[in-house]
């Protein structure tokens, strides 16, 4: 079944979206959209490094993203720059640095468009294994830290004051985000990963009345946009990443119109008995 490149891309994209949804909820609850952007732009630097050192791309991207995330955590704590300016600075520096590095390596032929916007032709079985292995791990860890992370999201001071050690949870959360960025790079591309984190989560907001429900709905919305986007990409010969993002945006728009009310009612009916 996985012999067909399109099936592989489909399976991979759905896997990525299912993990990105719940994580994306935390990104928007914590107002960290720009932070996600910075990490995903840093992914390009990771790609350049992996080509230079001839090591596995996904792993290298994950490691580079984690390093950038930790760096951000420290810089933010020292309060030297506003975190908005800091993120903008790091985000675009990382993107530019990655592109410059790639240009220097004349001996490797890189499909730049594929890196920036995703390439469904490039998905291998190993990628799928990475996505489901890594993604499953991310979801497990997320479930484990859920209560603490959620408390820290509502109020870091409150969580710290009541002994939940939000600093540690924040660090774990950043590592999880970095992993998700690494595994979604091939499908979505460095420029648009944040969109897959944010848009399905935003679409889920109108359809959910509890945080847990929103996380699940975000995953499902993401998966639906992945399927829709990839079919559109195949049909119209458009790049996969932007197609998935456009599909997600359409779903978000649908969640806003009064018709969304019907969906909301359906969702609350099927989940109404749960607190």
């Amino acid at each position: 079944m996985l012999d067909d490149f399109f099936t592989r891309a489909l399976v991979a994209a759905v896997g990525v979206a299912l993990v990105a949804g719940p994580l994306g909820c935390f990104i928007i609850w914590r107002r960290m959209a720009y932070f996600g952007d910075t990490l995903s732009h840093a992914a390009l630097l990771g790609v350049a490094l992996s080509l230079l050192l001839e090591v596995n791309t996904t792993l290298t991207v994950a490691v580079v993203s984690v390093i950038v995330a930790v760096l951000l955590l420290f810089l933010r704590r020292s309060d030297t720059l506003s975190s908005d300016a800091l993120l903008g600075l790091l985000s675009h520096s990382a993107l530019a640095l990655g592109l410059v590095c790639l240009a220097f390596m004349t001996w490797v032929r890189v499909d730049l468009l594929g890196l920036l916007f995703g390439d469904i032709l490039a998905v291998t079985r190993i990628d799928i294994a990475m996505i489901y292995g890594g993604g499953g791990l991310v979801l497990c860890v997320l479930a484990l830290i859920w209560r603490r992370l959620f408390a820290a999201t509502v109020s870091p001071d409150l969580a710290a004051g009541e002994g939940l050690q939000p600093d540690r949870t924040d660090l774990v959360f950043m590592v999880l985000t970095a992993v998700v960025i690494a595994i979604s790079l091939k499908i979505i591309g460095a420029l648009l990963i944040t969109a897959l984190l944010i848009i399905p989560a935003a679409a889920a907001r109108r359809l959910s009345s509890t945080p847990e429900q929103m996380a699940v709905v975000a995953g499902l919305t993401g998966a639906a946009s992945a399927v829709g986007g990839l079919y559109a990409s195949l049909h119209y010969d458009t790049p996969s990443g932007p197609s998935i993002v456009v599909a997600a945006m359409v779903l978000f728009a649908v969640s806003l119109v009064p018709g969304g009310l019907i969906v909301r009612r359906m969702v609350s009916k099927t989940r109404g008995d749960r607190p």
Binding site: C25, I28, W29, R30, R31, D79, F150, A151, T153, V154, S155, D157, L158, A159, A160, G161, E162, G163, L164, A201, A202, R205, S208, S209, T210, P211, Q213, M214, P275
Partner: protein
């Protein structure tokens, strides 16, 4: 604001803490520096079980910073902060910024840091007069409602130490007195220590065992009547501050019930208010909160009122 003298402070009215009694939280010469400036410096503070310690002071005087040091949210850049091992804290922070994208009901918020049954949630909300908000969305609450919900969350944990950062901001006047009454009540029922921050010197004064007046350093401390007589307190809060005690510790001779009736000190009911709300001239009267009568008729102490005349 710097305090050159690092000699330990020994305020005149420092509440005596017996050595056997386990202190919940202790700050010793603690201070926090941000860049080149000291936010607050040289604070000594202890809170024991059953004790209410109130921090007062102008804006930017380091009240919240001191509370955060006590809680362990901020590490002191100087001095020491220690908490009793295994201390269970209930914290009401000064601000709560919840993004509109976060679906969070009041009930879910109450369960934020520990699991509670529906009945426990309801009971805590009833205590703070917010029971009808149980299913509301957090972001639709008004300022006063939010305070009541945050207080309910903190007390539902049955904490050893309750830290309240401006617990009555945005709460209406009648609700404010009811909440301060509730805080004293919680102190006696749970036996927990309470560290409270307030701008509202008028009402705080009566409820606290110990008041610490901050202005970048400890400017004065002691029991409410000590502090209200202190010169530095008057310098900080101005002439009106002296009347603070009098305003609160007036005696209510009747209570307005939720159904519009009025109950008098002797227990008799009548349908309208006699107009003269008190047995002396201070302002304010006690409307019951959310249908629950906050009866203050047991509070009369003639001797105390005589003192107040002097304090004013």
């Amino acid at each position: 604001m710097k305090q050159p003298d690092l000699k330990p402070e020994s305020g005149p009215g420092l509440a005596p803490v017996s050595l056997q009694e386990p202190v919940l939280v202790r700050l010793e010469r603690a201070g926090i520096r941000k860049g080149a400036d000291w936010l607050v410096r040289g604070v000594d503070l202890t809170v024991s079980p059953g004790e209410i310690v109130t921090l007062i002071g102008p804006n930017g005087s380091g009240k919240s910073t001191t509370a955060k040091m006590a809680l362990g949210i901020l590490k002191p850049s100087e001095g020491r902060a220690s908490r009793r091992p295994g201390l269970k804290v209930g914290y009401v922070p000064q601000k709560l910024a919840i993004d509109w994208t976060l679906p969070l009901s009041v009930q879910r918020f109450l369960r934020l840091t520990n699991p509670l049954s529906d009945a426990q949630c309801r009971q805590a909300l009833e205590q703070t007069g917010a029971a009808r908000l149980m299913k509301s969305e957090m972001r639709t609450l008004s300022g006063g409602e939010l305070q009541r919900v945050m207080l309910a969350r903190a007390i539902a944990r049955h904490p050893d130490l309750l830290v309240l950062d401006e617990p009555v901001q945005g709460v209406d006047y009648a609700g404010e007195i009811a909440i301060y009454d509730l805080i004293s009540e919680i102190r006696s029922s749970l036996g927990c220590g309470i560290l409270m921050i307030s701008h509202d010197i008028h009402i705080v004064m009566a409820a606290a065992d110990q008041i610490i007046c901050l202005n970048g350093h400890v400017c004065c401390r002691g029991t409410p009547s000590d502090v209200s007589k202190s010169d530095s307190y008057h310098a900080l809060f101005g002439a009106r501050a002296g009347t603070a005690l009098a305003v609160y510790e007036h005696h209510h001779d009747h209570v307005h019930l939720a159904d519009g009736q009025v109950r008098h000190a002797d227990g008799s009911l009548c349908s309208d208010c006699p107009g003269d709300h008190h047995d002396h001239t201070a302002e304010g009267h006690d409307h019951s909160m959310d249908g629950h009568v906050t009866d203050t008729t047991g509070r009369d102490e003639a001797g105390k009122r005589k003192d107040l005349g002097n304090a004013g």
